[in-house]
């Protein structure tokens, strides 16, 4: 699989006064635990956000983030610097979350998700949900739909449409081209729209209100 060699530096890193990432990575590769500690400090929050978006629910995010850092720590010597450290770390996160998805797959959980979606949909027209509540219910529904979607579409969609990463950054994390990413994200959008229509959360295209 061809690796994309873009090296986008996330905006937040530039704002961080201590963000000498390359130097820290170099020291960490030499076994400097202090450098690793600083990398942990620097990347914890963006990684937490990334994993939270991918995982879709919050209860296991801390454990998943811990696993990402642990795996990064033992495989830092494999980091070849062709992508940024951030992209590399976030790529590990994609793999860790992918494993998590696979461990979560079961008929019963899919059934529960569907039941939850139906319950919420039925409630929405009759109950004046406040905006925040509605947003959370919508999040549950979309993640439930994503749970039944092929991984490659799900990943592309989450990174691009939900987390809002730039195409080059999202593609680099997934190890695919930007064009391929766009195709996957668009297909995922189409499937999600179809499911949302089926469940009554969206009117068919062209029938939307103002």
């Amino acid at each position: 699989m061809p690796r994309v060699t873009t090296d986008p530096q996330p905006a937040w890193a530039e704002r961080r006064p201590h963000a000498d990432v390359a130097g820290l990575v170099q020291h960490a590769r030499g076994g400097g635990t202090d450098a690793w500690a600083q990398l942990y400090q620097l990347f914890y929050e963006p990684l937490f956000r990334h994993v939270r978006y991918l995982a879709g629910e919050g209860s296991l995010v801390e454990d998943l983030v811990q696993e990402v850092f642990a795996r990064a720590l033992v495989s830092l010597r494999d980091f070849d610097g062709r992508s940024s450290f951030s992209t590399w770390l976030h790529g590990i996160a994609v793999n860790v979350v992918r494993n998590h998805w696979r461990s979560q797959t079961s008929t019963s959980t899919a059934h529960d998700r569907l039941r939850a979606m139906t319950t919420v949909r039925e409630a929405v027209p009759h109950v004046d949900l406040d905006r925040a509540h509605l947003a959370r219910e919508r999040a549950r529904v979309v993640y439930a739909i994503l749970a039944d979607m092929p991984e490659h579409l799900r990943e592309a969609f989450v990174l691009r449409d939900l987390e809002g990463l730039a195409p080059a950054e999202a593609a680099a994390q997934l190890g695919i081209s930007a064009g391929n990413l766009a195709v996957r994200a668009t297909r995922a959008r189409q499937r999600i729209r179809a499911e949302l229509e089926k469940l009554g959360w969206l009117a068919p295209l062209g029938e939307d209100g103002p």
Partner: protein, 351 residues
């Protein structure tokens, strides 16, 4: 790429996905993540003992805990093609920021170590707003004063004895007796500077009966001391940030120390301690870290870094003192970030 692979203009879907992203971001902001670098290293050791030997685990275990500093939380990008929905989201975000500001001001509640930069921005915004209100109030009173010279209404009593409304909530905390703590790692008492986040005298001055004011001081009324302290703290904070960017750690350290000195029990001083921890950590100043934790806990026994400082002291303790320290930690921070480590230690299960 065929027609089906071209993104379709779909405002309704975008609006719904904007909701989803907002909900996730909101959850992230509300989540008090437990940072545990020692657990990461222990897990890495389990994955590959050759890459991460046991002595590294023990080294990290004994080292300072890692705390979150003023991390920028990126604002959610605007939802595409739906300005109406964007306005709703903006309202929601503003409401959340307001709630968060109120929550942060309730310093009596133990706060986790995440210190988003938005918090600092909100704090400065509150300080700036307070200063603006003082000035605006002064201007209004100036106008009223002219009228008073004409009408001389006997309304001064309305203003007599009014408490300073802008007194820092931290003042309430200071009045509360501190919780019982482990005697072993507790710090040497530190002289507590007065609470200065918003100078009550400034508010009192503007609320004082207008007719009692010394006419010779009228010209000086707009330059109340509260804005000058705010300005000084802002200046120090900017200087510290610039020094950090320039990697001039001693200069940054001096500026943060000054903020701590002037800031009393304010949130700004609380945050400055976090920066000082980080600087000491970067300078590998183990003794300095220890002293800082003690100073910090003396002033902020329930501050936003208290969890980390307590855990740091416990990690540095030894023998029976260490056991007692972790036991106390579990009592004081039953949902703390280092509960797992405390339990591991007390259960004899250090990794």
């Amino acid at each position: 790429m065929n027609q089906l692979d071209t993104p379709q203009h779909d405002p309704a879907l975008d609006a719904l996905l904007g909701d989803v992203a907002w909900a996730v971001d909101d959850d992230i902001v509300r989540t008090q993540a437990a940072w545990d670098f020692a657990a990461v290293v222990a897990r890495a050791h389990a994955l590959d003992p050759e890459q991460v030997p046991g002595d590294v685990v023990r080294e990290v275990e004994a080292a300072a805990p890692i705390v979150s500093l003023a991390q920028q939380r990126r604002a959610r990008r605007v939802t595409r093609d739906d300005p109406q929905f964007d306005r709703i989201l903006a309202d929601v975000r503003a409401s959340i920021e307001h709630d968060a500001a109120v929550g942060r001001s309730a310093a009596a509640t133990p706060v986790k170590p995440i210190v988003p930069a938005t918090g600092r921005r909100v704090m400065w915004a509150v300080l700036a707003l307070a200063a603006m209100l003082v000035i605006a109030f002064g201007l209004v009173q100036g106008v009223q004063y002219v009228q008073l010279q004409r009408d001389a209404p006997a309304d001064a009593a309305l203003h007599l004895g009014e408490p300073a409304e802008s007194e820092s909530p931290a003042a309430t905390v200071q009045d509360d007796p501190p919780r019982a703590r482990s005697p072993a790692p507790m710090p040497v008492p530190e002289a507590e500077p007065p609470l200065l986040e918003v100078d009550p005298s400034a508010t009192t001055a503007t609320a004082a009966p207008r007719r009692d004011r010394d006419k010779t001081k009228r010209g000086a009324a707009p330059s109340a001391p509260a804005p000058s302290l705010s300005d000084r703290l802002a200046e120090l904070d900017a200087a510290a940030a610039a020094a950090l960017r320039a990697r001039d750690l001693p200069k940054a350290q001096a500026a943060f120390e000054e903020i701590v000195k002037l800031g009393g029990s304010s949130r700004l001083a609380d945050l400055a301690y976090g920066e000082l921890f980080h600087i000491a950590h970067r300078q590998s100043d183990a003794a300095g870290e220890l002293a800082l934790w003690k100073r910090y806990l003396q002033r902020f026994p329930e501050g936003r870094f208290a969890d980390d400082a307590r855990a740091g002291l416990c990690r540095r303790a030894s023998g029976a003192e260490k056991d007692a320290c972790w036991r106390e930690y579990l009592v004081d921070f039953p949902r703390g970030s280092y509960v797992r480590q405390a339990e591991q230690h007390l259960g004899g299960g250090t990794p």
